[in-house]
């Protein structure tokens, strides 16, 4: 039980708006081959357990776990799919390794939103069928409600939200796998089409296709393989209420609870001092600020100031989403959290190229399952 868990291999495809050349199985295969090569293992011999993360509605196939083993080397091996963000998959694999029953675990998450012809209709299936769906609202309305109340209570301005988008999409310019990089100016937001006021089109992370595979091992296996791992020193997850009618639209206590669980496990007393940078969910512009606040990573009571004073820039005091986040790399549904984790590992290994943060030792990675959920997972990584 005392064995630590380390990440020994990572693999990801390019994240692109469309991938008509390959099937989802072929996307997964590419990411898996890269991850196993990185870890220096043979999945057929060395991996003991596989966890994949997928949502049937997004895939368009129910009981999706049926379709995952072959392309990740899991045929006739312990494998199961969870309906959760990729980081929930990391939590699941972490627990499996902690049992002592397994030495090496693999987590996979992918997404091919370009195959969804009616993404709005599919996302609407996440709304409560009796209380909310009869109102026939596009699911983005929930983000509109949340952004409105969040900005109203915290004093965060729409310009500050826009600055999150500018920062993240600019960071993505130097991320070779990012699919939604752009150089934007504040002025561009004047022309952005309104989706669910105050939310504009530019505030929403655009979807991307891609796959991510992560290889984890317990400490004795890490030593046996002579790998330089990135340690998973803390992990936490939590859900808030499902009801839109009674949830807190400003302070995300489920994110705070998940973070506290992870901080406690990692022995982090002062998150702002003990953590070097964060890769967090930014499905919507304001979400990065709201998540920062809930994770206790804000410099003041107004999270908007973090982006105003450059604190969250790559060369700032506390870089946030140096990879470009979902806004810059593309939103990948269940794979979004795993994409954040992939980039955090690259940073901690010192492989982030032009986006490299100096002396990055400890990272916080957070994933959110998107609307209408209050489902989150937090991971602390150590070089």
């Amino acid at each position: 039980m005392s064995d630590r868990v380390g990440i020994i291999g990572i693999g990801a495809t390019q994240f692109r708006s469309i991938t008509p050349d390959v099937s989802y199985k072929e996307l997964m295969f590419e990411a898996a081959v890269k991850a196993y090569d990185d870890a220096g293992i043979n999945p057929r011999k060395d991996v003991d357990t596989f966890v994949t993360c997928a949502e049937d509605y997004i895939e368009g196939t129910s009981i999706f776990d049926e379709y995952v083993p072959d392309q990740i080397g899991a045929a006739l091996k312990p494998v199961h799919t969870i309906g959760g963000d990729g980081l929930h998959g990391i939590a699941t694999a972490f627990l499996q390794l902690k049992t002592g029953r397994f030495d090496i675990a693999v987590v996979e998450a992918h997404c091919k939103p370009s195959n969804m012809l009616t993404p709005d209709g599919i996302e609407a299936c996440g709304q409560d069928p009796i209380y909310n769906r009869p109102l026939k609202l596009n699911t983005h309305f929930i983000a509109g409600l949340e952004m409105n109340r969040f900005c109203y209570e915290t004093g965060v301005t729409y310009d500050q939200c826009a600055k999150v988008v500018i920062k993240n999409r600019r960071n993505a310019l130097n991320n070779p796998i990012a699919g939604r990089a752009a150089k934007l100016k504040l002025n561009d937001f004047k022309y952005a089409e309104s989706v669910s006021c105050p939310l504009t089109e530019l505030d929403i992370a655009q979807p991307a296709d891609g796959a991510v595979v992560i290889v984890l091992a317990n400490e004795s296996k890490v030593r046996a393989l002579k790998k330089e791992p990135i340690w998973v020193s803390g992990i936490g997850w939590c859900n808030g209420t499902a009801t839109l009618e009674s949830r807190d639209w400003v302070y995300l206590n489920y994110v705070t609870k998940a973070a506290e669980m992870a901080y406690k496990m990692a022995g982090i007393a002062d998150p702002q001092k003990d953590i070097s940078f964060a890769e967090i969910d930014d499905r919507y512009s304001y979400k990065e600020l709201q998540h920062l606040m809930a994770l206790k990573l804000c410099c003041s009571c107004n999270p908007g100031q973090c982006v105003d004073n450059g604190r969250t820039e790559i060369n700032g005091e506390f870089p946030v989403n140096p990879s470009g986040g979902a806004l810059g790399m593309g939103y990948m549904y269940e794979a979004t959290g795993l994409a954040r984790l992939y980039c955090a590992v690259e940073q901690l290994r010192g492989n982030a190229g032009k986006n490299q943060i100096k002396n990055a030792k400890t990272a916080l990675v957070q994933g959110w399952r998107g609307l209408p959920t209050t489902s989150t997972a937090v991971t602390i990584l150590n070089a």
């Binding site: 991938t19 072929e26 057929r44 368009g60 012809l117 299936c125």
Partner: protein, 191 residues
């Protein structure tokens, strides 16, 4: 004592299944009172309605894309792994046993052997039919043992279908073919 008798019957039934092929004559007696979709529409049951707008278009990818392209030309294509020696159909770009890229493409025959079949007396949406639809797994000639295509049998009396039966693909005309598994209409017995 009745308990013992029951288990004896079960045992006898199991033995019979193991030794003799069962008759596939369906039992057309149905119990209970059905609930029709009309009952739901007429509000006889308290429900909230939602007709989802959930449409998908899956990219076929490299392996299945080429396979379906082959179908368009009236050919069944497979792939080969030199490491385990398997000739696989439907094709894939990797061997799932060896976890390596496949080595080459091969053309297979459009004949095969029925591995298993069933006589379906219901359509996909549970409408009763008198003449059964006959899905079958057909092991393709030229592919490794156990490698098959999931398809339908036709031009055959349902009573005469059997495991191990040799069958041949009945293709749509070249003009009608569109690069789909339905380019084969069905499989008929080889005389």
């Amino acid at each position: 004592m009745p308990k013992k008798l029951k288990s004896k019957t079960q045992k006898a039934r199991r033995t019979r299944q193991e030794t003799k092929p069962q008759s596939l004559t369906p039992n057309l007696q149905f119990m209970g009172t059905g609930l029709s979709s009309d009952d739901l529409k007429k509000g006889k049951v308290c429900t909230t309605y939602w007709i989802g707008d959930t449409k998908y278009a899956w990219d076929r990818g490299i392996a299945i894309g080429k396979y379906l392209e082959g179908m368009k030309h009236g050919k069944i294509l497979g792939v080969e792994c030199h490491k385990c020696g398997r000739k696989m159909v439907p094709p894939r770009i990797f061997c799932e046993w060896c976890f390596k890229p496949i080595d080459n493409w091969i053309e297979l025959f459009d004949t095969g052997t029925v591995n298993t079949f069933s006589l379906c007396y219901v359509t996909w949406d549970m409408q009763r039919v008198k003449n059964p639809i006959i899905p079958a797994v057909i092991e393709i000639d030229g592919a490794s043992k156990g490698m098959g295509i999931m398809h339908l049998l036709g031009e055959i009396d349902p009573k005469k279908v059997h495991i191990g039966m040799k069958v041949k693909a009945v293709w749509k005309s070249e003009k009608e073919r569109e690069g789909a598994i339905t380019d084969i209409k069905y499989w008929k017995p080889v005389k």
